[in-house]
Amino acid sequence: MAKGMREIKRQIKSTQNMKQITKAMELVAAANLKRAQTAAEAGRPYSDKLKEVVSSIATGGGSVKHPMLQTREIKRTAYLIITSDRGLAGGLNSALLKRFVDTLKSKHKSNNEFDLFVIGRKGRDYLKRREYPIKQEEVGVPDSPKFAHIKSLASAAVTGFEDGTYDEIYLVYNRFVNALSQIPTVKQLLPLDASALEGTKQAGPSADYEYEPSAEDVLNVLLPKYAETLVYSALLENKASEFGSRMTAMSSATKNATKRIDELTLTYNRARQAAITQEISEIVGGANALV
């Protein structure tokens, strides 16, 4: 066997191993994606209901004013960035972080104007390396996150808004469209957009509530909760995006590996044939020399 052939054979073998791994990861990501989608759906009744009640108070009362619904002069901004813990998910995190850093550069002149709250190892490492001010971080969030995992981070950001440390809060995450497309999104979390709430108000007799003890007090409890819920649903959506993106990335990696194996096999067969031909011509040449 020629030396080149052994080399090619080894390459085929290692590509095959890689293909097995990417194939397995693709399947795992597909299963996780299904779970993440179910989780996102299971959380929907809660956030829908909360939104419904908040909007009926915010728009029904008329006189109700709450700091969370009002825009004020922006001196300091908080960003809540949601990324994944693990890589191998295509350009998911890098696209999001690039988009985010661009936003930061266009909106702020210095690093003192904002604080970051980061979920996910990828985002934390990236932003830490670039020496952005990270106020709080949360890494190692499991694949099916519970509300408790991000509660402290979310409420820290929301409390910061309430006590006036921040004048606006943005949520940065990957919006899940389908398994093939996820959109890096920078969305305003606080102050809540009252006009967006109005749009969801449903016609019907449910709007006239009595509030105990008062509409303001109820709103005081509800709005922070609502904001935290939005963070949680963004986290769920980002998880779904992560798996979707990983599934796509791994499926194309598997496809590439298959192509590469085919090419290598062809080269290998050619080399084998060439070796055989050479051997025959050597034997024939030798026999001729004897005669």
Binding site: Y46, K49, K146, S206, Y209, E212, P213, V221
Partner: protein
């Protein structure tokens, strides 16, 4: 006997969904008993067990904060976490209770004190619900 629908929803799932005759909760303004055809209302809740009466039977659910929305024939409780009696580990709750009481007895900053109090309240709620 007329009934109303009681739903308890958390961000993760629907914990409870049944037709009941009466719901008793602890609101921030005091205890409330909700019967069918109650006036629509919204109120935040304290960390306390929620009692649901079905016929002569009573069911308890540990609800940790959140708020309640009442409609004519439906009560929806939204809480960050809620547990049925069967899901509660009473021994763990007892331990949590002792830990919280221990912390309350030490002199601490106001925030720690509040946190310990909240933990104690949660543990007590769990024990109450789990014991039934």
């Amino acid at each position: 006997m007329s009934t109303l629908r009681l739903e308890i929803v958390t961000p993760e799932r629907k914990v409870y969904d049944k037709d009941v005759n009466m719901v008793v909760v602890k609101g921030v303004g005091g205890d409330l008993g909700i019967l069918p055809h109650h006036v629509p209302m919204v109120t935040p809740l304290k960390v306390a067990p929620v009692k649901a009466k079905i016929g002569n039977a009573e069911e308890f659910i540990a609800v940790h904060g959140g708020f309640m929305e009442v409609r004519k024939d439906k009560v929806v409780i939204l809480a960050e976490s809620a547990e049925l009696g069967s899901d509660i580990d009473v021994i763990r709750a007892e331990q949590a209770k002792e830990r919280a009481q221990h912390r309350l007895n030490e002199k601490q900053s106001e925030i720690d004190h509040k946190r310990a109090e909240a933990a104690l309240q949660r543990a007590l709620t769990r024990i109450q619900v789990g014991g039934h």
